[in-house]
Amino acid sequence: MPDNKNRQFLDFEKPVKEIFDEIEKLKQTEEKTKVDLSDSIKKLEDQVIEKRKNITSNLTAWQKVQLSRHPDRPYTLKYIQKMTTNFVELFGDRNVKDDKAIVGGFAQIEGETVMLIGHQKGINTKMRQLRNFGMANPEGYRKALRLMKLAEKFNKPIVTLIDTPGAYPGMEAEERGQGEAIARNIYEMMRLKVPVICVIIGEGASGGALGIGVGDRIFMLENSWYTVISPENCSSILWRSWEMKEKAAEELKLTSDYMHKFGLVDTIVPEPLGGAHWNYDEAANNLKNQIIATLRELEQIPAEDRINQRIEKFSKMGFWDEVAS
């Protein structure tokens, strides 16, 4: 987690930044004058909490999309570090290469071995390039499937963490079968004999998200989004303009509250006031508790029933009329 003085602020977080700046000033004054200002500082810190609360409760769909992309937001490896012990990262698809946009490996959550797989975004300019902004190539999806099959072989449950603006739309990705790789994952995840939990921790865009997103239970972090296309691309296709992304975000009803209401996700995992970037420990702990409780529940169900229920769960998704024929 960044120190308070290194925090980055979105436009709608500016009121918090102003209080932060005031606190910083008081601290400097305290340093210089050796006068105790801790009461005033404490008051301002309470105001920060209050502002964070205000911000979270009044967000538009587009602001939630921005929050899901907050530069200080924790990514997959951060959650793994905070939730697990004995993490051993495993690399490569055994075919073409190691895709850095998807990471995975065995780790223990409260002593139980679990396979964790997720999209990984970079934490600085150089790493963002290396991680390809969390946009995986076919190798990434095939690495993910290899690790899932490995987990299945040793009867270990799988947890996937989804955070991608989409699968990478590149020439080589097409040559190596981006569509096929995602299709294969969706199909195979449907048939995995071990419990599978999928969590949208940030951005859940399209097939790139669903490629590691089929499971027995789907969670969404409070300030994440999940739908068929990013609001920007939706704006460009349906409105023929890049200017309608805010409207597109509203229309797509892509936020966790809608997705839960629609029955497309099972659980919303609460975030710290103001968003996961305010407190990594709290964010990870909320998620960890939810994972543990859900795994206990899923492990009671015989494998074959679990697979049938998984297929049934997705079979019900959709809306249509049945007219008299």
């Binding site: 739309p169 981006q178 068929v228």
Partner: protein, 304 residues
């Protein structure tokens, strides 16, 4: 290559394609049984004429129809709809269309340039289609067969809840009647007006195909021009056999998006059927005129 410029996202938005190429290569159904191109047509004493977008060869629509809408000169496969494929593949064109009573609705109250409900109503009025896919059962050289075939002219053949549900019911029917299934893909991708529900159809249909696998019933994915997005990221690439028409554009990301990403022109033939065959993603490419015979052989092979 001009056709790479084609912008099927316009069709996904419920509008006709912007470029001349896409307009001229498409046959529109005005009323039952009457086909016309959307441009490049002229009325003459011999009837309607159509120009091949690939080689500019001019033929009458009747002549073209007899040739299964394949250009007699350059073998360009014109885009056709479910009615034409059913006629071509099923014995004597006889078939039974199912699940037409399942219809789209604007559950999310989605409004882009128009409300989704209005777009649906306009499309129902403009075409004689009820949605972007039709399912039919019939016989191929005496063997039972089920085809789910997309219609591009219904909002770009977009994948929404109705397509997902109709395919799911087709799978149930295939399992119940132990009959092989083929999906003919022709779609620009997801129906964005159904948001996440549209995305979940990828998982829904893949789950159903998994049941088909367990029942050991053959599933053929037949990819025609164009087959993109969620189609290729699910059932389009999950066939026991993946086959395609010649020259069809098939891919995950559309050529326009890729071009914008890599900021380079795409090579000749990129994302065409022949390219996919070369890269190992198709079992074979089949000419429309040889399609029925090949399917018939496959049905015998799977059975024998």
């Amino acid at each position: 290559m001009a056709k790479n410029e084609e912008d099927f996202s316009a069709n996904l938005a419920g509008e006709d394609g912007q470029s001349e190429e896409s307009k001229s290569s498409w046959f529109k159904r005005i009323k039952k049984g009457i086909l016309t191109t959307t441009s490049e047509k002229k009325e003459t004493p011999e009837g309607l004429w159509a120009k091949c977008p690939e080689c500019n060869y001019i033929s009458t629509v009747t002549e073209l129809k007899e040739n299964l809408f394949v250009c007699p000169k350059c073998n360009y496969h014109h885009r056709i709809g479910s009615s034409e494929y059913f006629d071509i593949i099923f014995d004597n064109g006889e078939h039974n269309v199912m699940f037409e009573n399942i219809r789209s609705k604007d559950f999310l109250h989605f409004t882009d340039l128009k409300p989704y409900q209005k777009r649906l109503e306009e499309t129902w009025k403009k075409t004689d289609l009820t949605d972007s896919i039709r399912v039919a059962s019939g016989k191929v050289d005496g063997e039972d067969f089920i085809i789910a075939c997309m219609d591009f002219e219904f909002i770009g053949g977009s994948l929404g809840s109705v397509m997902g549900e109709r395919i799911s019911r087709a799978v149930d029917y295939a399992i119940e009647h132990k009959t092989p299934l083929m999906i003919i893909c022709k779609s620009g991708g997801a129906r964005m007006m159904e948001s996440a529900f549209s995305l979940m159809q990828l998982a829904k249909v893949s789950g159903k195909l998994s049941q088909l696998t367990d029942a050991k019933i053959p599933y053929i994915s037949f990819l025609t021009d164009p087959s993109f997005g969620g189609i290729s990221a699910s059932f389009g690439m999950l066939g026991d056999l993946n086959i395609a028409e010649p020259g069809a554009l098939i891919g995950f990301a559309g050529p326009r998006v890729i071009k914008e990403t890599i900021k380079k022109d795409l090579p000749e033939g990129f994302q065409r059927s022949e390219f996919l065959l070369e890269h190992g993603f198709l079992d074979f490419i089949i000419d429309r005129k040889a399609l029925k015979e090949r399917l018939s052989t496959l049905l015998v092979l799977f059975k024998g």
